[in-house]
Symmetry: C2
Subunit: 419 residues, 2 copies
C-alpha cells in the first residue's frame, strides 16, 4: 500500500464531501477529535447570531422568540438519533461529570429500592477518571462501595455475586480505544439484578450506539469530542423511559421543575427526562453544540452513523497496518484491540520510552495526537473529516520522527501545563 492507494480510497469515499462542513486548520492532520472536535463552518455564524441578534437585540425575549427555553430538548432530540434513543428521552445539560452524578443517584436509588442489600457500584480501574471520582464520592455518601475490576473479563463474574446495584462503564476506553459490548454487558447486568449506566463520551457520534435496542438503563456523554460542539460544550443525559419518572434526581434546579416559571417554593419534578435539567443552560454553547450535532446528522442521507463507522474502521485499519509495515520495529506496541467489534474510533500504542516527546515532535510537524501517561500515544480518527491520505501522511511523519530520533530533542521533552 502506498500514498496513491490512499488517494484512490479517498476518491471513492462516499462520505468524502462531509469534510467540507469543517473549518480545518491549514497544515494540520488532526488526530485528536476524540478530545476536542474541530470547528464546523456553520458554527461561527450561528454563534454570532445568538450573541448579536438573539442576545444583543432581543435580549430577554429570546427565551420565547428564539426558543432558548427549548434548546436542551431540541438539541437532545437531534442527538438522540445518534445514540439509538427515542424522542423526548434525552436532554443536553451541564457537564458529563454532573450528569453522571444525577444518573448514578437515580440508578442507586432505583436498584436499592428493590434490593436494599446491594451496595456495590462496579466499574473499571481504567475508566475515565472523572467517572470514578464522581462514583467514589457517591459511594461514600450513600454507604456503598466502589469496586473496580482490572480487566473486562472480570465484570461478569463480579456481577454474578449478586451484590451489585449499578454497573458503570464507558463504552469506549479513553486510553486504549477498547469497545465494550453494550448489549451483552447490559444483559449480564440485568440477569444479576444490576442496572447499567453507560458513558458514551468516546462513542456518541463515532459509532452506532443502540441505547434502546441494547436495553441500557442510563447514559451520559460529552458534546465536545466526536459531536464537534466546541470547548466545554454541554453534555447530555438519557434515562430509559421505564426509570425516568421513578426518581427525583438531587440536582433539582428550576429548569427541571414541572412549571419553571410558576416560581413555586416547592419542587415538583417535570415529567420525563426534563427533570434531569438543573440550572439555566449555557445558551451560546448549546447553539454551538447544535451545529456540531448537525455535522454528524449530515451523514444520515449517506448511510448515517453506520456508514461513518465503516469509514472509521477502514481509517483505523489502514493506520494500524501502515504503522506495522513502516514503523513496526520502533518500539510501538498496539494497545487497541484489532478486532473491529472491540474497538472505537482511535488507535493507541504504548512505548516504553519517549511517548510524550514523540507526540510533541509529531505536533511540531502538524500531526496532532495526544499522550496519556504513563506511556500511551493516542490517535483519534473522526471519519467526518479525515481522509486516507491523512492516515498515510501521519504515519510517514511518525516514521520520520522515529527514524531520525527527532523526539530526543530537548524541546520536545518540556512538559506543558496541560498535556
Amino acid at each position: 500500500m502506498n500514498r496513491s492507494d490512499c488517494q484512490a480510497l479517498d476518491a471513492e469515499d462516499p462520505l468524502a464531501r462531509l469534510r467540507e462542513q469543517f473549518a480545518l486548520p491549514a497544515g494540520k492532520i488532526y488526530l485528536d477529535g476524540n478530545s476536542l472536535g474541530v470547528l464546523p463552518k456553520a458554527t461561527p455564524a450561528r454563534v454570532a447570531e445568538v450573541v448579536l441578534r438573539e442576545w444583543g437585540e432581543h435580549l430577554i425575549e429570546s427565551w420565547n422568540t428564539a426558543h432558548w427555553i427549548d434548546l436542551p430538548q431540541r438539541v437532545g432530540n437531534k442527538l438522540a438519533i445518534l445514540v439509538g434513543a427515542g424522542p423526548d428521552e434525552l436532554v443536553v445539560a451541564d457537564s458529563t461529570s454532573v450528569n453522571l452524578f444525577k444518573v448514578l443517584s437515580a440508578a442507586l436509588a432505583i436498584a436499592r429500592s428493590d434490593s436494599p442489600q446491594r451496595r456495590a457500584i462496579v466499574s473499571e480501574r481504567d475508566n475515565f477518571p472523572t467517572d470514578l471520582y464522581i462514583a467514589e464520592s457517591m459511594a461514600r455518601d450513600r454507604g456503598c462501595d466502589l469496586m473496580l475490576v482490572d480487566a473486562p473479563e472480570q465484570i461478569e463474574p463480579r456481577l454474578a455475586r449478586g451484590d451489585v446495584a449499578v454497573l458503570m462503564l464507558t463504552q469506549v476506553n479513553y486510553r486504549t480505544g477498547r469497545l465494550h459490548d453494550m448489549a451483552a454487558l447490559t444483559r449480564a447486568a440485568h440477569a444479576s439484578g444490576t442496572l447499567a449506566i453507560w458513558d458514551l463520551a468516546h462513542s456518541a457520534g463515532a459509532l452506532p450506539v443502540h441505547l434502546k435496542r441494547d436495553d441500557a438503563d442510563f447514559a451520559i456523554g460529552c458534546g465536545y469530542k466526536y459531536l464537534n460542539g466546541g470547548p466545554g460544550a454541554p453534555a447530555f443525559v438519557w434515562v430509559h423511559p421505564r426509570h425516568v419518572d421513578r426518581f427525583v434526581q438531587p440536582l433539582s434546579g428550576w429548569m427541571g421543575h414541572a412549571a419553571p416559571f410558576a416560581f413555586d417554593p416547592g419542587y415538583a419534578p417535570a415529567g420525563g427526562i426534563s427533570r434531569f435539567l438543573c440550572g439555566t443552560p449555557p445558551v451560546i454553547q448549546m447553539a454551538a453544540l447544535e451545529c456540531g450535532v448537525d455535522t454528524v446528522l449530515a451523514a444520515e442521507p449517506l448511510g448515517g452513523i453506520a456508514a461513518l463507522r465503516t469509514k472509521s474502521l477502514a481509517l483505523t485499519d489502514c493506520f494500524m497496518r501502515l504503522v506495522a509495515e513502516r514503523c513496526g520495529d520502533r518500539g510501538l506496541t498496539l494497545v487497541t484491540p484489532r478486532d473491529a467489534d472491540r474497538r472505537g474510533s482511535q488507535v493507541s500504542y504504548a512505548r516504553a520510552e519517549g511517548g510524550y516527546a514523540i507526540v510533541q515532535a509529531l505536533i511540531a510537524r502538524g500531526v496532532v495526537g495526544d499522550f496519556r501517561a504513563p506511556d500511551i500515544l493516542r490517535f483519534g480518527f473522526t471519519p467526518l473529516y479525515l481522509r486516507f491520505v491523512d492516515v498515510w501522511d501521519a504515519v510517514e511523519h511518525l516514521r520520520q520522527v522515529l527514524d531520525k530520533e527527532e523526539w530526543q530533542q530537548e524541546r520536545f521533552n518540556r512538559k506543558a501545563a496541560v498535556t
Copy 2:
C-alpha cells in the same frame, strides 16, 4: 421634576461614559438587566476570537496556549474584586443551582461535624425558588429539615433556637428587591453556631458586597444578570478560606482534582477553591462572562462599585418618585423598601389587576421590565448603562399605558411560553 431635570442629571453623571461599553438595542429602555444583562460591545469580537482562532485554528493546544485551563480562576479573580473576596478564593463554574448544591453540602457537613444535632436549614419562603428546590433535595437526602420563614424579622428568632446548621439567604430578593444586611445576619448566624450561605444573584455587580468584611461563610452567584455575561453564563462560587479545605464537595469531577492531568483513578481534591470545580468548563461562555465582568471593573477608576451604587440609588429614587407623582393613583403599590440600606437595584410594584398585561404593553412601547406572578411588576436598573432620562421616559410610558388603559387590549393578555 421634569424631563430636562433628568437630562441635567445625565449631563453631570460621572459614570455616564460607562454606557458606551454596551451594544444597546435601538428604541429600547431596558429595565431587565437584573434578569439578563445587555451585550457588551467587546463580547462579539472576543467570542469570535475564541471560536475562530482558539478553537478553530489552535484546537486542543488552546488549553495551554490560550490558557483555557485557567479561565475559572482568572475570571474568578476578577469577579472577586466586585464581591469583597480575596484572590484565589472564588471560581467561575457550572450554574448557580449546581454551585449551591456544592456549598450547601459543605456547609451542612462542616456545621454538623461540630454539632451533629443541628438539623435545620433556614431560608425564606420567597427566596429564589431554585435555591429552595436544591435545599429541599439536600435536606431530604441528609435527614435535615428545610425551615422557611415568612418575614425577615423571623430569621434571628429562628436562629436563636440553636438547632440551625445553615442559614441560606439571597442578599437581594428577586421579586421585591429587598436587601438583607449581610453583616448583621451573618453575625446573628455565627452567634447561634450557624453557618451562612449567601446567594449574590441580584447583588453581584449591582451594589457593594463585602464577603470577607461581613464574614460570610459561603457565597454563590449568577453571571448573566448584573455581570452581563450573556444567556446562561456560568455562575460563581466562593468559600471562606477558613472552610475551603475542610470538606470535599460531592461533585468531585476531574477539574477539581489536585492533578487533573495525572488521570489517577482515585480522587484527591485540589487545595483551595479549585476543588469546587467539577467538569470541563464552557470555554466560550466563560470568555463572554469575562467581557461582562470587565464592564463592571471599568468603573473602578471612577469610584468602582460604590459609585455604581450611588447612581443606582439615584436612578431608583428618581423612578419611585416619578411613579408616585405621575402614576400615583393608578393602583400600583410599591413593594420595594424605600430605605436605601434595604433595597437592591430594582423597583417592584404590586397591582391587583393587569400586572402581566401592563408589562406587555410597556414592552410593546420598548420599555422592557418583567412580571412575576401573581402580581409583581419588576423594573431593574443597571447603573452601568441606564440614564436618568430613561427613567423619565419609562415612567411616561407607564403613565400612558395606565391612563389609556392600553393594557386591557387583548393582545397584551396572551401569555407567552416563558414570562
